[in-house]
C-alpha cells in the first residue's frame, strides 16, 4: 500500500483547561450575583429605615402643632403654631384645623383635628399622603362597570 495513512488523533491537551475556565466563569458569575443581591437588599432596607424615620419626624411635628393648638386662643390663633401653617375654620362653635408636615421627599402627614374653645380635640384624619404630582393616563378606554350600567 502506498502513502502514509494519516490519522487524526484526538489529544486530551486543553480539556482540563477548558473545564477549569468554565468552572471559574460559573463561580465568578455566582459570586457577582450574590454580592449584587446583598447590596441591593441593604440599599432597600436603608431606604425603608429612612422612610420610617421620616414618618415619625412628621408625626412628632404634627403632635407639637396639635399641642400648641390645644393651648392657643383659637379665636385669635397664632400664625404658624409649631412652625407649620394651619388652616383654621370655624363650624358650629368648633374649630377645624388642617395642616401638613413633610415626611421625607415625596410624602407628607396630613392632619385634620376638631377643637373646641376649651382645648379639647378629636383627630379626624391623620394619614400619610403623596406629594408627587402625577397625571392619570386616560388615553385607553378601560372597562368601567359603573358607567356600563348607565
Amino acid at each position: 500500500m502506498s502513502g502514509e495513512r494519516q490519522s487524526v488523533k484526538l489529544s486530551g491537551a486543553g480539556t482540563a483547561l477548558l473545564m477549569m475556565l468554565f468552572f471559574v466563569l460559573c463561580l465568578t458569575v455566582l459570586c457577582a450575583l450574590s454580592l449584587l443581591s446583598a447590596a441591593a437588599d441593604l440599599r432597600l432596607t436603608k431606604t425603608y429605615a429612612a422612610s420610617v424615620q421620616g414618618y415619625y419626624e412628621a408625626d412628632a411635628q404634627a403632635t407639637r402643632v396639635l399641642c400648641e393648638l390645644t393651648k392657643a386662643n383659637l379665636s385669635d390663633p397664632p400664625a404658624a403654631p409649631g412652625g407649620t401653617e394651619v388652616a383654621l375654620t370655624k363650624e358650629n362653635g368648633l374649630y377645624l384645623a388642617r395642616y401638613r408636615c413633610g415626611a421625607g421627599e415625596n410624602q407628607a402627614l396630613y392632619a385634620e383635628v376638631l377643637l373646641d374653645s376649651a382645648g379639647r380635640y378629636r383627630v379626624l384624619t391623620w394619614k400619610l399622603e403623596s406629594t408627587l404630582t402625577y397625571s392619570i393616563d386616560e388615553s385607553i378606554d378601560v372597562f368601567d362597570a359603573a358607567s356600563d350600567q348607565k
Binding site: L27, Q53, Y56
Partner: protein, 154 residues
C-alpha cells in the same frame, strides 16, 4: 513519521493541569472573599430590618393607649412608665431576654414637657453600636386638654 515522545506529552498535560489548578485556586480564593463580603452585607441588612421593627413597635406602644407601653416594659399591673430610661433586651429571633445576653438592646428615654411626652428610642447591636434611632412624641393623655371621646362633636 515521527511522533512526540510519550514523556513530553505527559509533561505538557501535567503543566497544563498545574496551571489550571493554580488559576482555579486563585479564583476560588477571590470568590471566597467576595462571598464573605456578601454574607456581611446580608447580616447587616437583617440586623437593620430587625432594629427598625423593634423601634417601630416601641414607638407605637408609646403612642398607644391602655397601657401599651407598660405592657411592652412588662411593668406590674397598674403601674405606668415614668420619666427616665428603660432598657429591653431581645435575642436574635426577637424574643425578650436579659440585656446581658441580648443580640439587640432597645433603649427608651422618656421625657415630658408641657403636656408633650417624648420618647427617644434607640436600638443597639450586640457590640453596643447604634443600629437605629427615632423619636416619637405624644400628647399626655392625663392632661386637662386630653381628648374626651364624643365631647368634641361637630
Amino acid at each position: 513519521m515521527k511522533t512526540l515522545p510519550r514523556r513530553n506529552g505527559s509533561f505538557l498535560f501535567l503543566t497544563e493541569l498545574l496551571i489550571s489548578i493554580l488559576v482555579l485556586a486563585a479564583a476560588a480564593a477571590l470568590c471566597a472573599g467576595l462571598f464573605a463580603d456578601a454574607r456581611a452585607l446580608r447580616q447587616k441588612s437583617a440586623a437593620l430590618t430587625k432594629a427598625v421593627a423593634l423601634a417601630e413597635n416601641a414607638a407605637e406602644a408609646f403612642k398607644g393607649r391602655n397601657g401599651e407601653l407598660a405592657k411592652l416594659l412588662s411593668l406590674p399591673e397598674g403601674e405606668t412608665a415614668r420619666i427616665g430610661a428603660y432598657s429591653l433586651g431581645y435575642d436574635a429571633r426577637g424574643a425578650a431576654c436579659k440585656t446581658e445576653n441580648a443580640a439587640y438592646v432597645l433603649r427608651l428615654s422618656l421625657a415630658e414637657e408641657n403636656d408633650l411626652k417624648t420618647a427617644d428610642i434607640e436600638v443597639l447591636g450586640a457590640a453596643g453600636e447604634t443600629l437605629y434611632a427615632l423619636t416619637a412624641q405624644a400628647l399626655d393623655a392625663q392632661a386637662p386638654n386630653a381628648q374626651a371621646a364624643g365631647e368634641a362633636e361637630p
